[in-house]
């Protein structure tokens, strides 16, 4: 977990892959240099509800997911990915692939924001189970 804690250098994080054991590969780069072919967005699922980790809202470069979902009411991950892909293309002149990792949990996660009236839609998906 300490890998998300930085020293004095300003660097952002992008998750580029997740294996079946839940190990997420994190890449570090300064803004504008953070161009990776794949960007993985994480959602937790517990008891039929979806949760987004607050830590990642603050720490990932491809944020802020909660602004799109909660404030702008973009109510599916499929639409969130359309917006993120479009923004990446327009602002960064970079085309990448957004992938959702849905981590199914046995108990409610800590430090997360519950998403209400939210659906996944048609997205590239990695599902992992605790």
């Amino acid at each position: 977990m300490n890998n998300l804690i930085r020293n004095s250098e300003c660097v952002s994080c992008t998750i580029t892959d997740v294996d079946k054991n839940g190990n997420a590969e994190v890449m570090f780069s300064g803004f504008r240099q953070a161009r990776f072919e794949t960007s993985v967005i994480i959602l937790y699922e517990y008891g039929g509800s979806y949760y987004y980790p607050t830590t990642l809202e603050y720490r990932l470069i491809d944020n802020n997911v909660l602004y799109l979902i909660e404030e702008l009411s973009v109510n599916s991950m499929e639409k969130v990915f359309q917006v993120l892909s479009s923004s990446m293309e327009k602002e960064e002149r970079w085309t990448n692939k957004f992938v959702l990792c849905l981590a199914h949990l046995n108990k409610k996660p800590k430090y997360c924001h519950e998403l209400k009236n939210f659906e996944i839609g048609n997205v590239e998906l990695i599902e992992i189970y605790e």
């Binding site: 977990m1 802020n64 009411s73 996660p109 605790e130």
Partner: protein
């Protein structure tokens, strides 16, 4: 490097959580957040002196602004933003964002108003509220208060990290640039709409605070109806119209 997502879900200590939150300070904060450099005055945007004048006038006349008057500036900004959004390659995304953005600006009944002291750099202090990466954060003797609201004296989250521990984390991460990334800020009031008319409410102490801040400080609003449960609800601003 790797992190384990199941550990992130269940095994994060309060100190690790605070450290990750405090690791996100960046001059270029990424998509959908303003950088510090863009938190500057725009023509016809509500200023500190306009806010004070409006509040005093409202208190003496009981006349309130309507929704269109409060948010005219935001809609003007939106129209110019519209041209930028049209340059997106995917027109359906433009349509989606355009409608959602307008709804976000004017669908609420309650809007909090923050004053961010962009020209008043302060060191790391106990019981001072800072604007940090789109959130308001306060360090008390016993806790870090994330999403702190000076108007209501409440926060979205309380992280049990005392001031000495906070100080150690801040010293480690922000040796030199703390005051660039943490700007003194307070929610000074709330605009409450009944129907189309919006009344600005302020406490006496926060009105006095507003009288004292640097006149170049930035005044913006957040749609409380939509986002009171989000700590990072000041990442994008809703501009209020200036009052002459």
């Amino acid at each position: 490097m790797a992190i384990n997502l199941f550990d992130l879900a269940h095994n994060l200590s309060p100190k690790q959580y605070a450290e990750i939150i405090l690791s996100s300070g960046d001059y270029f904060p990424g998509f959908y957040r303003f950088t510090m450099g863009t938190r500057t005055y725009e023509h016809d945007q509500m200023t500190v002196s306009g806010l004070i004048k409006y509040y005093l006038n409202q208190q003496t006349t009981n006349q309130y602004r309507n929704r269109g008057q409060w948010f005219q500036k935001s809609f003007e900004r939106m129209n110019s933003l519209d041209e930028r959004l049209k340059s997106r390659s995917d027109y359906s995304v433009y349509e989606l964002l355009s409608k959602k953005y307008k709804d976000w600006i004017d669908c609420g009944d309650s809007y909090d108003v923050v004053v961010i002291e962009t020209h008043n750099k302060k060191p790391f202090l106990m019981n001072e509220t800072y604007f940090y990466m789109g959130a308001l954060i306060r360090f008390t003797e016993e806790n870090i208060l994330l999403g702190y609201d000076d108007y209501r004296d409440e926060s979205v989250e309380t992280i049990p990290i005392n001031f000495n521990e906070s100080s150690e984390i801040i010293d480690r991460i922000y040796k030199e640039n703390f005051s660039d990334l943490f700007l003194p800020a307070k929610i000074v009031g709330n605009i409450n709409f009944v129907g189309e008319m919006g009344e600005l409410k302020m406490s006496d102490s926060l009105f006095e605070h507003t009288l004292m801040v640097d006149s170049n400080s930035v005044v913006i609003a957040s749609n409380r109806t939509k986002s009171s449960e989000l700590s990072m609800r000041w990442a994008k601003d809703i501009c209020l119209t200036e009052y002459e």
